[in-house]
């Protein structure tokens, strides 16, 4: 155990990328926030092999052989089993109204949905939420920390990795069922989730130039969305409109059609198109 830990620490040190000196590269390096990228990429290669040989075929087989209705029931049970962790995290985030909804939902599905086999609460329009301790830490103000590629679990970061460990320790079910049952549940969760994204993930891999970097970006954006509970969060940077378009449009000079419109063709700055859009 200690040997493994030591080996892992050694791997981390060996895998540290040296920050580049060049300002452009430096900026890109900081934005990627992935100081142990070489190690992460090694783990990613391992995960890819694991996925190719085991997880994806299992997910494919699961989807091909188990009928839709049965898979829906399996998912309902898995989601019901997750509800206590979500409930606890909603309390920790101080989101009491959501916690109440999650609690009610759990009760309804346990009682009327035959122990969670059927999503009765969903039929009554009760929303399902999913929260984890990584999100709770984010709500408490913790930054994500460096990007981490976890073996098997995949993309993560220091904050979410801690959250993952904390959730598995805090999950009350873990104390009532034998380890094998917990492990089986995790495996089933993995297969079920993987089965949902077979085609999209194939497409992303096929069309991206750097699959690792694309997944890193997608993971970060998805997590921010989950942390913000689907609300549009930060101000995303946007491409500044190129003025080619304005020049193309010369037959209909905007200044002549609406007052206060004066996009100067010499400024590609983001402010120029705004003048074409009066806000009131």
């Amino acid at each position: 155990m200690t040997l493994a830990a030591g080996a892992f620490a050694g791997l981390l040190l060996a895998g540290c990328a040296t920050p580049p000196k060049d300002p452009e590269a430096r900026q890109a390096y900081n934005e990627a926030n992935d100081p142990i990228e070489p190690t992460n990429r090694t783990i990613f290669d391992f995960n890819q092999a694991f996925d190719r040989n085991l997880l994806k075929p299992a997910a494919q087989g699961y989807r091909d052989t188990v009928p839709d209705g049965m898979r829906a029931s399996v998912r309902n049970v898995l989601q019901t089993l997750r509800a206590p962790v979500t409930f606890g995290n909603e309390l920790l985030q101080g989101d009491f109204s959501r916690a109440a909804e999650t609690f009610m939902r759990l009760g309804v599905n346990l009682v009327l949905g035959f122990g969670g086999l059927f999503d009765v609460a969903g039929k009554y329009g009760m929303q399902r939420y999913e929260e984890d301790f990584g999100q709770t830490l984010a709500v408490w103000g913790f930054h994500e920390g460096p990007y981490l590629m976890l073996p098997i679990f995949g993309p993560s970061n220091v904050r979410d990795g801690i959250g993952l460990a904390a959730d598995s320790f805090a999950d009350p079910l873990g104390y009532f069922v034998p380890f094998a049952a917990s492990a089986g549940r995790s495996a089933l969760e993995g297969v079920d989730k993987r089965a949902e994204v077979i085609e999209p993930l194939d497409e992303i891999e096929r069309t991206s130039v750097d699959f690792y970097a694309t997944l890193r970006s997608l993971y970060r954006q998805r997590r921010n969305d989950e942390i913000n509970n689907g609300q549009p969060g930060m101000n995303l940077p946007a491409p500044s409109i190129s003025y080619d378009v304005i020049e193309e449009d010369k037959p209909a000079p905007p200044a002549a059609t609406s007052p206060g419109t004066n996009p100067s063709p010499t400024t590609p700055a983001p402010s120029s198109p705004s003048s074409g859009m009066p806000s009131s």
Binding site: G122, G230, A252, S280
Partner: protein, 213 residues
């Protein structure tokens, strides 16, 4: 359980006029926003038309390219995706990059949309201002399975001139397609020490592979 208490009845009495007024409030923001919404609607209808036509791949790619050029500020997006490396590229490198970028986007979205589209409907929602620079047009994809939640898509629209709209980003469930593309490219350039010719080589290989597959 769902009986309307006196209190919630009163609440709804107060809330209803406000709710009824709210759409008027956004509509009052002007015909500009409606123009942007219509623009997205027309563009989406065209894309759905291409997806449903089941045309052979070369023809479909060409129609997608047309939609892309009519609806998006491709040059602005391309420049953004190269981040600060754009400034380092020579004019010749920029020209090649712009061409490859255009082809990559056509291939990517023609394939991605084609593989996931099963007759879903796009419902255009309200527009909201995007700072002072333009508007976000919200929309939802209603999936064919009722148990699946609708997928939220936001279109970042600019209006370079009175009769012209251009999309500069498409954000799916708060994931920006443009930022994802930028991070893909910058991931390579940051690792290879900003070697633009090598990057263009990788991009060329990718585009070739996608065009022939």
């Amino acid at each position: 359980m769902r009986s309307l208490s006196k209190r919630s009845f009163l609440v709804s009495l107060v809330a209803l006029p406000i709710l009824a007024y709210a759409p008027l409030g956004t509509a009052a923001a002007g015909p500009v926003d409606d123009g942007a919404r219509q623009f997205v609607q027309v563009l989406a209808d065209r894309a759905v038309g291409v997806l449903q036509s089941k045309a052979p791949k070369p023809q479909r790619d060409q129609e997608f390219a047309q939609i892309l050029n009519d609806g998006f500020d491709v040059r602005a997006i391309a420049q953004f995706c190269l981040s600060s490396y754009w400034n380092k590229a020579t004019e010749q490198e920029r020209q090649e990059y712009l061409k490859l970028f255009h082809d990559l986007i056509v291939q990517t979205y023609s394939a991605r949309l084609g593989s996931v589209y099963h007759g879903e409907k796009l419902e255009i929602g309200p527009a909201r201002p995007d700072g002072t620079q333009g508007v976000w047009v919200s929309s939802k994809i209603l999936t064919t399975k009722p148990e699946n939640e609708p997928i939220k898509i936001d279109w970042r629209v600019r209006q370079p001139s009175a009769k012209n709209y251009r999309i500069v980003d498409v954000v799916v469930t708060n994931v920006s397609m443009v930022i994802t593309q930028r991070d893909d490219f910058v991931g390579i350039l940051q690792r290879n020490g900003g070697n633009i010719p090598e990057f263009l080589g990788l991009l060329r290989d990718k585009v070739n592979k996608l065009q022939t597959s």
